[in-house]
Amino acid sequence: MISAVLILNARGHVLISRAYRDDVDPRSIASAFRSQIIATKVSDRSPVKTVGSVSFMFVRYEEMFLLAVTKLNSNASLVFEFLYKLIEILKAYFDGKLTEESLRENFSLVYELLDEIVDFGYPQNCEAQVLKSIITQGGMKDVKPHELSQRLKEMTGAVSWRKDGLKYRKNEVFLDVVESVNMLMSAKGSVLSSDVSGKILMKCYLSGMPECKFGLNDKLMLAAEKRKGSGRKSYKEIDIDDTNFHQCVKLGNYEQDRTISFTPPDGEFELMRYRITDNIVPPFRLLSPIVREVSKTRLEVQVTVRSVFNNRLFGKNVVVKIPCPKNTAKCKIHVASGKAKYKAETSAMHWSIKRFPGDTEFSLSAEVELISSTLEAKKWSRPPISLEFQVPMFTASGLHVRFLKVYEKSNYQAIKWVRYVTQAGSYENRI
């Protein structure tokens, strides 16, 4: 498994390293990483590379490399999952900011974490919530033996993600359904592929060891309920292609009758992810955009965006990015609504509309002047127009939370809140 974990800066200098096995030396690993992977630009073209007998696997985060090395035929997906988990843990400890500086300031804490979460290269418990109970920045001074053994039971136990004995005055649960719409449209306006990858995020402030049950308007779940005779109301049914759950969800139950039951971790976590490809309503459409190369030095652009959701709703922070060639000199842009500007660093016009009501159309027209170059320029690759947006209280898939039940020994009433938002994933329209 993992022989060593290193965090390096963009130039490949070690910020922190921890060897778990004797078969590698972090110092020579770092220099091999610099010469074989950063200098050769392999880092841009593959996340895995074996040099000699050492295999490097790395991810990038904010100008840093998180690198794991192994000399065995290790499980690569596990290693990458672990590296992402490590980012998550460090962020949780550093108030969401993982930077070179925060690593340097907290090096002893990071060492302590690296010692706890991996043993001999085998990842151990990596739940930040639980780790915080035994690794604290201030040191654990007044922990009674009884309490400690309880914490350790959490570390290793069946419910490794939740501490026992939590108490809240107000028992509250917040559910956020966040859908990212991925859409690819051809230049002719036909949808090449579209899907929704959704997340259900949960914020739990619940006392004790609650047992939650959760229902969606999933076709199969409704069918299962009907079989049992418990389905009462009729809902618009949706077809979920696939779901992934947080480890707290009892997968056996789900497989059996599609019920989602779990004991949630405390605080914020991602309960589930899902993917839907059928019957998606993409909230925005580009109506036959025109990007015409009139001459070698001039481009004409005409873009109309239409919102296709209920007019009681509205889109937020809509940004339409219209790519221009690298040799763009000047853009004359006219927009009916919002603001538009050419940004040289992305070689694109950014047209942003703060509030975009449902069922309306806005247009942009522009003339782009190009610097004529004497070199015979390579043909412009015409990258796609991309969209960013958020539409609150709307799900592109039609997914809908039917119920969330909370059972606890003490029988308290939990207050539940549900929010929906649809945002753009990779939303591209070719031109």
Partner: protein, 919 residues
């Protein structure tokens, strides 16, 4: 305390450092714990940036006497770092470790056991055993889960001790621990130990499998992966158990962690091998497809691993994602490595139903920025054309559109793939040649030029100005690469043979350029071959150069079956990412039987050769000299010479890692692979003669003999001895028809044999085209008569098949690998001894003397494997034999595995080769 360094930064840095160290030393012995902790922190900070602080070892170790866990951990960290260089000092810490291992705080007990295992100093190991034994039985699961891992560490330091002291059994016991995390760590530790040791095996009982299944529901995501990976090596007893295990694992496909999903897929794919029920198989396949697609919404690196695995899975079960091709469309912002893999999978999933959409995608990609991606997209179009016959026209149309873009590298790539399309569908699309020729001047890459020239040569008859076109290239002949030059030579020949009247000057010019002015031996040789062919027999030249070429085939499922099997067993691991078996990149990978392709020895060919010899006597044809295979050889000449004709250089998925050697040839092929040259080795042993006919059965004639191969001519080396009372004269010999067409090509030149006399004779043998190929064996049935005998005497001889091996049987490494992969399961022998005192070189020499050629070797911890190849002709067909001789270390016995397209030969070959090595 003062800080003296403050005033003089950098001046006396060594002094500076010394004072810093002294300052820390004082702080480390300060009575306040807070100060000590700060000091240790400073020391470790210095250690992190690479400063040498080991002189503080004893001072730091003293600080371990504390109840402050944070401080203790820091001290332990320091000890771990320096224990290796300061083993004597590390012993100072032993006391502390032992004490901490019985500390009331389980966190500290765990920490002590964990850290002790990381200190790889021999002396410490002795002290580790007792605390470890206690830790295994600790009441706190945190300590127990740590102890399981500590056993793996101990094993890594001292295998013998770990086994002798019963720690492996302890691990087995921990498998049934009530705590799921303990179980998971124990499984992982045990799996890794078993992977690296001969003495430990991972034999799960069905009970343990059930316990593991139960723990699967409760442990951490990593623990689930450990358990699943272990399950994926388990062989269920029957279909029922296989289905039970699958059912337990299926829910894991919904897990958010991609490693859990992929390892579940691995288990299910393995269990499916035991499932015969088609509905169940279909059902399980269906359950895997959506989760596999979902992996595409994870982080790019995870997507990459998933895509490499999906590539394997669709090769095994093409139906599994047939409907999901759209999910593999590239997004503009996907990293390049994700895009290239998606492309590869799109080609694999392309079908006549979806080809229109797919082509539109590829065409779109061909306009993107990344040159490699663009080229691969263009090639993808060509590969689809080759894969899907009915879509070929559509693909060609797209390629022609792309050529019109005039983007230099797009055009060149398109021409290269169009050449492949021509090779796949000859004489079907030559209408487009005009368009291609219009782009002649843009070509500047050798491969594209060579392809274009090949097309011109191949269709010289249809291209009116072919000579002019070729002349363009001839003008710059000396600047071209050998690849282009060779192609140009062949193309000119083709043109000349089709239109001799107008191209005489051109062909002369090119032949002269190649033979007189070129330094390249290949080019010169080919030039001479052509030249002489033209001089001696223009008609033959035509037959050879313009011979029909074999059609190339679809290469989208590139991995041979047994390699694919092996890789599927390794889903989610690096092996599956590289599409390479682990032994090819892990330095000391133990070859475990579970990862090997199934070696199922096929039964030896039945040898009921009690052919009634008498009846077939009339069938013995007159001995004639046969022309052997010459026509065949020449027919294939263009194949050999035409350059491009070897399978088209379509990139495969492997090329995504140009520097990665997909089959680990580096490690496998030793530099001495051209050893074959040293056949001057004195070790060339002849085949010993056997008693063929006893005097008793032979009316007093005793014959010893063997078929031998002397520099390519096959002879029967006979030793005739007259044990009778009369003189024997006028010997005549006849062979019964045999599958090889072997027959004497001359008389048996044996002088009169007086009673008691022995004579050695060589009977020349030849291969006739007529042969009775129904029985494939190595048996010769021979009749000998003399006027003195009332009737002929008969004997039969099992000759050594290696005498029929061709002297060009040496395969290149790549060809060998291809052959090994594409041939059916091998036939493996038990350990066979070699001649005492022979070393591996001797073996190599002996085999080379018998046209069994060394290709490569590969050694690992346990054995050295030598790879050999040979070729022979049977029934007008050439057969390739590939062999692996595995010598376990330190043994001069070997395992021989033989692979050949027709396995009925394998037993004979394996027996014959073994006999060569023990005489």
């Amino acid at each position: 305390m003062s800080t003296p360094a403050k005033g003089a930064p950098g001046f006396f840095s060594s002094q500076n450092k010394r004072s810093e160290i002294n300052e820390w030393r004082l702080m480390l012995s300060n009575e306040k714990e807070g100060v000590r902790k700060d000091a240790v922190k400073k020391v470790i900070a210095a250690m992190t940036v690479g400063k040498d602080v080991q002189m503080l070892f004893s001072d730091v170790v003293k600080c371990v006497q504390t109840n402050n866990i944070e401080l203790k951990k820091l001290v332990y960290l320091y000890i771990m770092n320096y224990a290796k260089t300061q083993p004597d000092l590390a012993i100072l810490a032993v006391n502390t470790f032992e004490k901490d291992a019985t500390h009331p705080n389980p966190l500290i007990r765990g920490l002590a056991v964990r850290t002790m295992g990381c200190i790889r100093v021999g002396k410490i190991v002795e002290y580790l055993a007792d605390p470890l034994r206690r830790a295994i039985k600790d009441k706190d699961p945190y300590v127990r889960k740590t102890s399981a891992v500590a056993i793996a560490k101990l094993f890594d330091i001292d295998k013998q001790m770990a086994i002798e002291q019963g720690f492996i059994e302890s691990l087995h016991e921990l498998l049934t621990d009530p705590n799921p995390m303990v179980v998971a760590n124990a499984v992982k530790a045990l799996s890794e130990i078993a992977e690296n040791s001969e003495q430990v095996t991972l034999d799960f009982t069905p009970d343990i499998i059930r316990t593991l299944g139960a723990a699967l529901n409760e442990c951490t995501e990593w623990g689930q992966v450990f358990i699943l990976d272990a399950l994926s090596t388990y062989n269920p007893r029957d279909e029922k158990e296989a289905l039970e295990i699958s059912d337990r694992v299926v829910p894991r496909l919904q897990h958010a962690n991609s490693a859990v999903v992929l390892s579940s897929v691995k288990v299910i794919l393995r269990m499916m091998r035991w499932v015969g029920n088609a509905d169940e198989v279909k059902n399980l396949s269906k359950k895997m497809s959506a989760p596999l697609v979902t992996l595409l919404s994870s982080e790019p690196e995870i997507q990459y691993v998933a895509l490499r695995n999906i590539d394997l899975i669709v090769q095994r079960r093409p139906g599994i994602l047939a409907k999901d091709i759209k999910m593999f469309f590239c997004k503009y912002n996907d990293p390049i490595y994700v895009k290239l893999e998606k492309l590869e999978i799109m080609i694999k999933l392309a079908s006549e139903r979806n080809i229109d959409t797919v082509l539109l995608e590829f065409k779109e990609y061909a306009t993107e920025v990344d040159v490699e991606f663009v080229r691969r997209s263009v090639r993808a179009i060509g590969r689809c054309a080759i894969k899907l016959e009915r879509a070929a026209q559509k693909c060609i149309d797209v390629l022609l559109d792309l050529i019109l873009t005039k983007v230099n590298y797009v055009v060149q790539e398109a021409i290269i793939v169009i050449k492949d399309i021509f090779r796949r569908y000859p004489n079907r699309y030559e209408k487009i040649i005009g368009t291609l020729c219009a782009n002649l001047e843009t070509l500047d890459e050798p491969e594209a030029k060579a392809s274009m020239i090949w097309i011109i040569g191949e269709y010289a008859g249809n291209i009116e100005n072919a000579d002019e076109l070729l002349e363009i290239f001839v003008e710059t002949f000396h600047d071209e690469t050998p690849q282009v030059q060779l192609q140009l030579l062949t193309a000119t020949m083709k043109l000349f043979l089709r239109r001799p009247e107008v191209t005489q000057d051109l062909v002369k010019q090119v032949l002269k350029l190649c033979t007189d002015e070129s330094e390249n031996p290949d080019l010169r040789d080919r030039g001479y071959v052509y030249w002489r062919l033209l001089l001696s027999d223009p008609a033959a030249a035509k037959n050879i150069v313009l011979a029909e070429k074999p059609v190339i085939s679809d290469d989208t499922s590139t991995l041979p079956k047994n390699i694919l099997d092996d890789l599927i067993n390794h889903i989610a691991t690096l092996s599956s990412v590289y599409h390479k078996s682990p032994e090819l990149f892990v330095s000391d990978y133990k070859k475990k039987s579970s990862t090997l392709p199934n070696r199922s020895p096929s039964p030896p060919p039945s040898q009921s050769n009690q052919d009634v010899f008498g009846t077939s006597q009339q069938q013995l044809p007159p001995p004639t000299t046969t022309t052997n295979k010459s026509t065949d050889l020449l027919g294939g000449l263009d194949e050999l010479l035409g350059g491009i004709t070897t399978t088209a250089p379509i990139p495969t998925s492997r090329q995504s890692h140009p520097s990665d050697d997909p089959f680990g040839l580096d490690s496998m092929m030793m530099p001495d692979s051209n050893y074959q040259q040293s056949s001057s080795s004195p070790m060339v042993k002849s085949i010993p003669k056997n008693l063929l006919l006893s005097a008793q059965k032979g009316q007093g004639l005793e014959i010893y003999g063997a078929v031998v191969n002397q520099q390519g001519s096959i002879k029967y080396s006979l030793s005739l001895s007259n044990q009778s009372q009369q003189t024997l004269t006028g010997f005549a010999v006849k062979f019964n028809q045999n599958c090889w067409g072997l027959a004497p090509t001359g008389p048996l030149n044996c002088p009169a044999l007086y009673p008691g006399q022995t004579e050695n004779v060589m009977l020349p043998l030849g291969r006739q085209s007529q042969a009775n190929t129904t029985k494939k064996n190595n048996i010769l049935q021979v009749a000998i008569k003399t006027p003195q005998f009332p009737q002929p005497v008969y004997f039969q001889d099992k000759f050594n098949m290696t005498v029929l091996f061709e002297n060009h049987g040496k395969l290149g490494e790549q060809d060998f690998l291809n052959a090994w992969g594409s041939l059916p399961d091998e036939l493996a022998t038990e350990l066979v001894p070699t001649q005492p005192g022979w070393n591996k070189e001797d073996v190599r020499g002996v085999l080379a003397g018998h046209n069994v050629f060394y290709v490569a070797n590969h050694s690992d911890q346990t054995a050295v494997n030598y790879y050999y190849s040979a070729k022979f002709v049977f029934d007008g067909q050439e057969y390739v034999v590939v062999m692996e001789l595995m010598f376990p270390n330190g043994s001069n016995r070997f395992n021989l595995s033989v692979k050949i397209a027709d396995m009925t030969f394998a037993a004979v070959i394996s027996e014959n080769i073994s006999s060569l090595l023990l005489q």
